[in-house]
Structures are given as C-alpha cells and as structure tokens.
Symmetry: C2
Amino acid sequence: MANKTNISTLGEFGLIRHLTKDIHPKDSTTRYGIGDDAAVLDFKTYQTLVTTDILLEGIHFNLEYVPLKHLGYKAAVVNFSDIYAMNGRPTQLLVSLGVSKRFSVEDLEELYSGLRLACEAYGVDIVGGDTTASMTGLTISITCIGTAKKEDIVYRNGAQINDLICCTGNLGAAYMGLQLLERERAVGESDPEKAQAAFQGKEYILERQIKPEARKDIIAALKKAGIHPTSMMDISDGLSSELLHICKQSGVGCSVYADKLPIDYQSAAMAEELNMDIVTCALNGGEDYELLFTISQKDYEKIIPVEDVNIIGYIQKPELGCNLVGRNGEEIALKAQGFNAFTD
Amino acid sequence: MANKTNISTLGEFGLIRHLTKDIHPKDSTTRYGIGDDAAVLDFKTYQTLVTTDILLEGIHFNLEYVPLKHLGYKAAVVNFSDIYAMNGRPTQLLVSLGVSKRFSVEDLEELYSGLRLACEAYGVDIVGGDTTASMTGLTISITCIGTAKKEDIVYRNGAQINDLICCTGNLGAAYMGLQLLERERAVGESDPEKAQAAFQGKEYILERQIKPEARKDIIAALKKAGIHPTSMMDISDGLSSELLHICKQSGVGCSVYADKLPIDYQSAAMAEELNMDIVTCALNGGEDYELLFTISQKDYEKIIPVEDVNIIGYIQKPELGCNLVGRNGEEIALKAQGFNAFTD
C-alpha cells in the first residue's frame, strides 16, 4: 500500500474515532451505538440473542493469503451465521481488536471496510467495541446480538425420532479452498505466476474459504414455506461434529447417507487432485457456514420446493447410535474430527 | 501449582465443557445460556445494554504480579462498571479466551474461578463465549450485557450548565498500586523478602489495583435518594479524560477543584515516597472504576446524605473551557493524558 500511517500518530481514542466516525446505526432496535459506556438496544417483546467469537492470527487466519478486508467480512459473517442458526435476525455487532505495531491505520481501515461491507449486506449495526495495542499479531473478537420472537427460536435440543435431517448448500468446499491456498502459498514463494494460474477454475472453493456467506436466505425461505425446524445449528466445525451436538443435546441417534451429502464439483476435483477422500472432507472440513437442521416428517412436502436444501438422513432412537451409511449400505459411527486448535 | 494438565488432553470442546460444566444461569432474564449457537435473553419491555472489552497479556496485565484468579475477577468487574455507568444492571457475561501452550487446565480454572466469583458477587450469569489456542500469551475478551428501564438510562451527553460534578470513592489509588507493584517486581527479583515487606501498610492501594469493585452500591443509593444523574460514566482512563468526554459530548465546559479531589492517605503517602504529584495521579491515573456523574443543582440536598460521593466541581458554559482550579485559584486547562497503549 502507498501510505502507511503509524497508529501511534492517532492514539487510542483517535484511532477508534477515526475507524468509527461515519458509522451510524440504522436498525430500529439500536437506540444508541458507539460513544458511551455501553450501547443501548430495544427489542421490545422480542428475545435477545447473543454470540461471540475470537479469531487469532496464526491460529484462525493467515494474512499471507487472506486480505484484511476479506478477513473483516468473514469475521462478521460467521457471527451472523450463529444468529441465523437460532432462527433469529442479527441486528448489532461489537468489534474488539488487538493490534501490533506491524499494522498501520490503513490496514485497520481495510479490516473495518470488510466488517462494514458485511454489516451493510446483512443489515447489522456496529454499535461498539474496543481497539488496543497487542504485543504480537492481530486479535479479533466479535460479539453479535440478534433478536427473534420467543416462539420462533430454534435450539439444538429439539430433534425428534423420525425427523428428517437437512443441510443447505454443499459441504467441504471451504476446507478444499483452504487446502488449495496452503498448497499455493508454498508454490507461490518460489513462483508467483504459477500459483496464480493454479487458482483458475477453482474460484468457487476459494470464495467459500475467503468470503463465506451466512444463510439468511434459507431462514427467510423456511419462514415463507411455513416450516419451523425442530433443531438447528450452523456448520462451522464440520457436519459430523455438529450432528453429534444435535443428537447429544436432543438425546437421539441419526443415520446420514454418504451418497446424499451435497458436494460441489470443484470440491470433488480438488480432493481428487490432492488425493483426499471427499466424503471425509465433507463430513469434517468445517467453515462451510451452511445450516444443519431437522424437520418433522409432516413437513416433507413443504421442504421439497425450498431451494438449496438437501435431505441427508433421519433421526433415530439413541440406542441405534449416530451413523454414516456408505454407498454399499455399510454403517460407520460418526466421529467429531473437527478442528482442534489445541493439538500439538 | 502441584498438578498441571496440558490443555490438549481435553481438546477444544472438552476444555470448554470442563470450564463451564457447573455454570447455571440464575437471572430471570437468561432464557438459555451456554450450549447453543447463541444465548437467549428476555428483557421484556426493558432496554438492553451491551459493552465489550479486550485485555491482552503484556499490555493490560502482567502475570508476574497478578494472580489469574484476580485477573478473572477484575476482567468481569470492569465490564459491570460500564453497565452501572449507564445506570443499568449487569445481567450476563460472555467470556472469550485465547490461550497459549504455556497455560494449563488448572491455570484456566483459576481464571474462571475469579470470573465466577465476580459474577456471583454481582448477580451476573455467564452465558457463553469461546476458548481457543493462541500463538503467544493470554487474551481475554469480555462482553457484558445489562438491562435498564428506558427512562432510567444515563448517557454521557446530558450534562447541563450549572450541574454539580460528582465522583465516588477516591482517585489515583489503583494507579499508585500499579506503581508499587512495578517497583517491587524489580526489587523482588533480587530480594523476595524485602518486596513482601514493602507491601505492609499499602494493602488498600494494592487491592484497588488488583481487585477493583464496581459501584453497584452507588447506583442503588442514587435510586433510593431519588436522584437521576444528568450524565454519567465510569473512571477507567482517569478523571481528566472522562470529564473531557462528558463535556465534549454534552457540549459544555467545567471547573474542577484540586482541593476537592478525593484522595486516600495511602495513595498520598505512596506518591510522596515515589516523588510524584498526587493531584496529577488522581487526574490521570485510571483504573479506579469509580463513577463520575453530574446532577442538577436542585438535587444538592438529596446528594449530601449519599455516602462516598464527592462534589468536585460544576458544569459551565462551553466557551469557559474545561479547567482545574488550583489551591490558589489558578486555572489550568484539563488534558486527557490517559493510558495510550499505542505510544512507542
């Protein structure tokens, strides 16, 4: 970048003012945003939803291949996804940053531009946060508030025996995008042009990793179709891990069919290229931010016309366990192999 | 500590479960706490307050002299303080941690025990959060939710000309406690017994730094006295800095009297010992978490019986500026010299 302004020229309050000066709340539930000890929200008779997420450089993102603007966008969207997964509407965002001296004012403007783009796209107000120095790297902590009518909220613990298991979009694409980025980073160090060429025809899986979207559209479509899921969560750690959460909390088992798992052709091709098993990637990849939900069998006719929803299995008695049914009918117990940041 | 369990033995989900397994919501506004995509809160016709804070090792705390339990307590309390500063009641807390391999499960239990002690003392529910690995050190990001009736909320922007300026407790003690800790850390490296002895008679300023409290009692007392402040905030960055915020946002000026600033004798003695000016420390020290507020002159009679409140000056026309009046009547413009984490 041409200009790099040292953060210390603005100071802590100056930096916060600079980054937030033209942020103005729009949602009717925001009564007061940035600029006091706390933001003030008014949900009237609606209930309040709240979720939080912390992202650390070197653990959750690598700035060598993720632009700051995209990182900001993704940090916001993954929190919106949690609110949609409650069948709610995200309304406010709080943004806390820890920033080392390596970053300039312009870098933080980039990050904020991504956060704001996401907030505008989803109709969410930035109402507060904290920005401070850090000893090393970038820390992003996001809290998202949302709202829903009491009777609309969908928890993880409501799945019933014989319910249908649905998931939206397709699985494993974000993970395959990450594999591609990591491979090309190594290649790119020796030959930048070659790395660039390797992205051709793989734009979709890259976008799924770098600029994911939350399924606001599905929440609207389910409402329109008159379907109230019996349980729901978003797929951030991988389908297996999330299904096991729903089954454990609902006290049920499940059967999921390998040949029903939705997989995009770019994901499949990438897995082939890397000699990986695409079903394993779809089950455990994570970061897809699709919705996983269960519906009553009586809603079967209603779900068919809803676009981009796949029925992948059904809920069964707990004593039957949580299984993946293979192409030849063989059953394998599902395992949570989701991302474990604490492994050596 | 005797036992040190490596965090990787529990894994990410296991660790979160371990740390939160016996946390149960108590407040009537918490409908669902930890264990879903988002917590669910119900404030009915009350408004929702939300504030967030990020604390980074090496910037905001030094584990060489702050025990993890105290750190947890303080991290929670400083957020409660922000909710009280809106004349609200803190109700829920979300806790996000970034933890390097240097920390054990027992370390995090200590941190959580402090967080929980604070929550129990103030009647706040822990309803969610995130725990993840970090490359370096400890990151603590806290979001606090609170509630208040619309008509009770006090903003920073309501101070009126001729209002009285009040502050609670005393100022500069937390800063003097920090000076003492930093001095003794250096001494302690060569002679631990000598450092221990140096704390005698200085317990109060140490406690103000290590285990601050939020002024829940003052909020209750003001309510009982029938006083609705015209503006209010908590003193985290120092009186000067906070007063300038109130004056700027209210579009007014102020006069504050040096000889009215409340100072504890231990703070004064410590300043003397370190050859520092105690008035400067009281104005700029920060971390006192006292409340700064303005009241209408008509409430003068009502405020007198309220314990631990000091009238330190008055609000004036903006063109008269924001001034400190010295013992001999001389006026000096107030400056925000608060903590600037971005300075080299």
